[in-house]
Homo-oligomer: 400 residues x 2
């Protein structure tokens, strides 16, 4: 991969690009900072965009310094959040961190990684240090951050602690003398605070590589654990395959570009073919699913998952095994009941709002009939099959 | 002094009055918190209002806990300030604190005072403590404080450190388990934060005694060192006497009520006499000056100062000693020069803006002629006397 593509494929923004290019070209190994807050242990494909980029830098001889945010995790980064997060206990944080590290090294080379816990410097951080740090930034500087600004304007509470978050993240860069910091584009504010702080204390400001936010399985929002629209890198092969196949067509090429190593030339050909309708998008997507499953499992696992997927979904067959749910005939088999109530009863959805969302998205069928209305009333036939989304089925039967 | 007057004379507000009355009546000695930031060492009459109140409580058997704000002084309380203060060094803070304590015990009984330095708890205050403390308050809660709100709205920088100030002051109350906190009415926000924090950590919220802000010698603004409109309790007797005499009539009675022990009945008579024009306000003010000088020096010193004052000012005589300033004739004795330039040259004023203010207030005379215009041009006669305010004189002479 040439330098230009290293700094553009799967990259949203670099600051300052010329300077960073010069440093890479010099051949000196750079100290690449990647932070993570062990608030949740799972790594998903959205994270993989940045971690794969780190790996590419490692392959050029650079050194990753992974910051385990065991202190910031206790605060909880409010970036992009609309509310104050619950604070985690030190024990939760440690357990999450261990689980995370295992997954992290599925992508990043552990030989060229230095793991540093924030506790190294924050365990002995005193009030004088806090005063020194907080004196370097103003309230207004923090409140321009989009999420803070919105919450402040809306009158939602912002704990003073939350203003400390970007400062602590910034100080991490000072503590490890970071030369480049990696992060999602939503981390731009915090990472730039790091540059600013390094400048203020007389260090050379770090370069910045910001990766784009991968859209999740809903095709709309950035992939995130709290939204539930994610594909975890440790999910079973068939589930991972199925989730990739459930992606809307329009996000496919981003996945190819950011999460696979398929060469640019091939990507260009695919785009061309798609544009000219010379190919079925489904076939392209199957390639994507194979690439991704191969990466996190194996090529064999990918092929197996593909076979199962084809059998179940493409041939519109029902899965060989389907659970049967026994309902009370008096309640469901006589009068019409709201479809959402049935969906909840089966456990195929977890909430009424999820049920409604699935209906709106056209993902609910009762005995093959598409359910069109959120409030639709239905009478259940014995043996009817309820399908929610592409992969959730249940046979409905009466007890008597 | 009865309980009612204890809680009203020289008091702006008590929170919660009924509860505080009940506690005092119970006869149990209370822990009275008084904090001070050793940013400047001098105590003036404005401070004396609260310190005299503390002494009255001590006389009833209550215990004063004086918090030396050696940590908060390093931040600088922005209350009522329009800009971020310069941070003081630990050495400056210690030196100021020592000077302050000496003056403090001229009013407050050292036998019933426990002196506690914030460093007792803040030297070992870690990041975890900071996080715990800052999580209890929101940014919006702080920004409603009038001075913060104004500065924020005006786009003036507020260092994040400054938001920590009220929190640290609040935590002091928790650290010493304060039962009553004393402070100026401008401290209301911070002191209520103390109540709130005590409640949040499960302590009984402190009662609050807020004293009014004494107007300074300019008759307009609250007395403060930074404004220069203050009467320090260690100033020489004649200077103190003269400054009291320079007070505008309308603030006299507040001084009597808040800074002297003259009984309420006598105060009522004075007011009555003033109202019906049965007395010369000057005579009342001389009584005030005597009361105040007696309190901080001695009755004899007060009488002496009064004699000198009468001689110099009331008989419109010039002081027996007057400095002579030798000017360059070529510059001041030939062409007319701005009066403000002459004033600055003599050192009777410290800045051009002070010179202008004195002129506007009708306080500047050259050889007895009142200077009416800020921009007035004058030609200096050899031996002319320049007077600024009531007590600053200089004889102007030429070198040749």
């Amino acid at each position: 991969m040439d330098l230009e593509r290293l700094l553009t494929r799967g990259v949203a923004e670099t600051i300052v690009k010329e300077e960073l290019s010069r440093k890479i070209s010099s051949g000196q190994p750079l100290r690449l900072k990647q932070g993570f807050d062990p608030t949740r242990p799972d790594i998903h494909l959205g994270h993989a965009v940045g971690l794969r980029k780190l790996r590419q830098f490692q392959n050029l001889g650079h050194q990753v310094i992974l910051i385990v945010g065991d202190w910031t995790a206790q605060i909880g980064d409010p970036s992009g959040q609309s509310a104050t997060r619950r604070m985690l206990s030190a024990e939760e944080v440690r357990a999450n961190a261990q689980a995370y590290l295992q997954q992290f090294f599925k992508i990043v080379d552990c030989q060229r990684t230095e793991v540093r816990w924030q506790s190294e410097w924050y365990d002995k951080f005193g009030l004088a240090d806090v005063i020194k740090l907080t004196s370097k930034f103003t309230v207004a500087q923090m409140l321009v951050r989009e999420d803070f600004a919105k919450r402040y304007a809306a009158g939602s509470p912002i704990a003073i602690t939350e203003l400390l978050y970007p400062l602590l993240q910034a100080y991490d860069s000072v503590a490890i003398r970071a030369e480049v910091e990696f992060g999602g584009i939503d981390q731009k504010f915090n990472i730039l605070a790091g540059r600013e702080l390094q400048r203020l204390v007389g260090q050379e400001p770090q370069q910045v590589v910001l990766v784009p936010l991968l859209v999740g399985t809903d095709g709309v929002n950035a992939m995130s654990q709290s939204r539930g629209n994610y594909i975890g890198i440790t999910e079973p092969a068939d589930q991972m395959y199925g989730k990739v196949m459930s992606l809307p067509d329009h996000v496919m090429m981003d996945y190819f570009e950011w999460v696979t190593d398929v060469p640019d030339e091939e990507l260009a050909e695919m785009k061309e073919a798609l544009l000219k309708d010379k190919v079925n998008p489904r076939d392209i997507k199957m390639r994507l699913a194979r690439e991704i499953v191969s990466q996190f499992h194996s090529y064999e696992a990918a092929l197996e998952a593909e076979e199962e997927f084809k059998r179940v979904f493409q041939q519109r067959q029902l899965p060989s095994e389907m659970p049967t749910l026994y309902l009370d005939r008096a309640r469901y088999g006589v009068d019409a009941v709201p479809i959402t109530t049935v969906m909840l009863e089966t456990g195929l959805v977890k909430s009424r709002s999820e049920a409604k969302r699935m209906i709106v998205q056209g993902g609910v069928r009762l005995d093959g009939r598409l359910i069109m209305e959120e409030g639709q009333l239905v009478v259940i036939e014995n043996g009817a099959i309820l399908r929610v989304g592409k992969r959730r089925f249940v046979r409905l039967a009466f007890k008597d």
